[in-house]
Amino acid sequence: MTVTRMNLWGLGNDWNPTMLWYARAVRDLQTRPITDATSWTYLAAMHGFDPDLWQGYGYIDSTTPLPPAAARRRDWDQCQHQSGYFLPWHRGYLAAFEAIVRDSIVKQGGPATWALPYWNYNEASNPNARTLPLALTAPSLPDGTDNPLATPFRYGDAGDGTVDIDPSQIRLGALTENDFIGAPSGGSPGFGGVPTTFNHAGGRNGMLESEPHNNVHVEVGGQQAAPPQNVGLMSMPVTAALDPVFWLHHANIDRLWEVWLKRDPGHANPTDAAWLDGPTGPGVRKFVMPDVAGNPVFYTPRDMLNTQAQNLNYVYEDTSDPLVGARPLAQRALTLGLAAALPPAAAGGVTQPAELVGANDAAVQLGAAPVDTRVRLDRPTTARVIRSLQSITAPGAAAREPDRVYLNLENIRSESGSGSYSVYVALPEGANPAEHPENLAGTLSLFGVRRATLADGPQAGNGLTTVFDITNIVDRLHMSQALDVEHLPVRFVPSSNAGPQQSVSVGRVSIYRQAQ
């Protein structure tokens, strides 16, 4: 039977049956030992596990018996990030969790139609959408017992335990990406991410993963403002799934995949076997989840394409388009003052590789104060970008979309697990960034950076790379004759009040062009 995942806030700001049953099931899962594959802690460790941090939060102690090493190697530390597998892996993860929760609910006498709600923080008609309802914050259940859905390790953006997401960090520009899979070449990393093998931590964020996904993690988890300045569970992949709100956030991310597919007939899932049947290769781990009895079930992205298939069996209450048909090409034509819309790229066309236009001169150290850097631009390559912009207004020119331009923040490293920075491009001299949202390229969020920084971690300490599409900013500069062909200034402004206490470095800030 197909179940319907409902909008969290639509269920009401009270102890509605869906959330009350969720709380009872979470409590049941939390009573199970970590050696049980259907326990709260085992399932969270499948996303990521760090024994020191887990002991710090009190989820285990040094004497807690852990599952056998072989099971841990097969199941734990499995979450796929900075990868085109980000969405299909998490879909399988959510489905397994939902089935185990439902099984617990049914055994407690609850409904067999229970489904995981989704937290739609972008819901325009609800002024409370960016906060959490009572069921996730109240200290106790209606019967007076402790509420397992509330955790003391959820600090929020201000570090005081209040969750209220900054709307500038949950923009849905990712929904306008044409391709699911992007290229790891400095251009668009795609809606769903770049091609990788099994990729647990480190690399290049896909567009949806970067915003809103990563930003919501850090906005919810945050970092405690008062000593000892603990980092919130949601801020780090190795602890995120210990917070019950994780699952509702990811249900929304999973829903946005459905929204993306539906909002444009040109949007489609990858069809190449490497993605559908991946990850493959000598010694490469496979995706695996426990069934309700705790037995391992292996899966591939191919199994995750149809939410109404037997193994998934759910739909979302609402997959309407939050951008109401906004098309990037039409918007771009408006910015560039064109009378007619730009033609879409030919279906099945080859994505052009990106090309470096320029980079800053040295690594940037970020802290609690705003930091400026300048991207030095290469004259001949910048001239190509400008020529492509000029070509569309030339008399008799064939209508073709000009180059798109991307800001790359490469090798982002930090030993801190939390914090975020608003990144502005080409701010006017002395301007207050808050008054120039049109210059906001995106938010650099530190979700996943800590593990990607470890020299002996899975990615050898290369850190993360985040890519922002700044085509619109460059278009506006071009149209107002304000495009400096020598340099492009970039400013990092700490955007969380409980900003990172430890240093953050961005190895290189660069600009790439991508011909269309």
Binding site: A69, R72, R73, P184, S185, G186, T197, F198, H200, A274, G281, P282, G283, A354, E355, L356, G358, A359, D361, A363, R376, D378, P380, T381, E410, N411, A455, D456, G457, P458, Q459, A460, G461, N462, G507, R508, S510
Partner: protein, 241 residues
């Protein structure tokens, strides 16, 4: 070479050029082998003895040249397939007109480190054989050294650092310096990870080429794996966490 390994290489952007570079290396090795059998160059039962048994005459200089050439060809043949990720990194992060220059500078530094190392390893292996130790004893000794080194945390740490993708400057001397430094440090970490295994074929009197192929296949599979925790490990166990 196992098909899966070749496919793994080919899937990466720089796969084909690197595979061709590797084949060139093998071709040079085969050509050198025609003139002086590689076992003699590598293990120096004849050629290398002339390097330190004076007087070093014309034949000795020729042996030295052959040694350096064979070492370089060995780097090309066995190491080129391992460099798909660094080459892609250099290509993507350089201005289009500087890409070939970036690759050349990296390769120069990387090959220099390895060529010197392999030449020294060959001299050392020759020295061992010159002491009168038989081929089999020498091979057993080299296997023991390789097994010991493969299991050390230092070796795993070196291997992990082979996955580094550092910042590269975009312009002028800063860009050249970063590419050279990347090649040099990558070469050093690569030597740290592979020197003991590279020593093995030098003591295989028969099936020298097969031994080199086997080592290369092992290194290639191992390089595809993500970094792992630095600790003592079972030697040659690729897939453990």
């Amino acid at each position: 070479m196992p098909v899966a390994v070749v496919l793994a290489v080919m899937r990466q952007g720089a796969g084909l050029p690197l595979l061709l570079a590797s084949l060139t290396g093998w071709f040079i090795l085969a050509a050198v082998d025609q003139r002086i059998p590689l076992t003699e160059i590598c293990a120096a039962s004849i050629g290398l003895a002339r390097l330190w048994v004076p007087p070093i005459g014309e034949a000795g200089q020729s042996a030295l040249a052959m040694l350096v050439l064979a070492s370089f060809a060995m780097v090309l043949a066995m190491m080129a397939p391992l460099l798909a990720v660094p080459m892609t990194h250099l290509w993507i992060r350089s201005l289009a007109r500087r890409r070939l220059r970036a690759v050349a500078l990296f390769s120069l530094a990387y090959a220099a480190v390895w060529t010197v190392t392999l030449s020294l390893l060959a001299v050392a292996s020759a020295g061992l054989l010159a002491l009168g130790i038989g081929w089999l004893t020498a091979l057993a000794l080299a296997l023991a050294v390789a097994a010991l080194w493969q299991s050390t945390p230092a070796r795993q740490g070196s291997l992990n650092r082979c996955h580094r993708l550092p910042r590269l400057g975009a312009f002028g001397w800063a860009a050249d310096r970063d590419c050279l430094a990347y090649g040099f440090t990558s070469g050093l970490w690569c030597v740290g990870a592979c020197w003991a295994l590279m020593l093995l074929p030098m003591f295989v009197e028969r099936g020298h080429f097969l031994a080199m192929l086997a080592v290369m296949a092992f290194l290639l599979i191992e390089r595809q794996m993500p970094s792992r925790a630095v600790r003592w490990r079972m030697p040659f166990a690729i897939y453990s966490a």
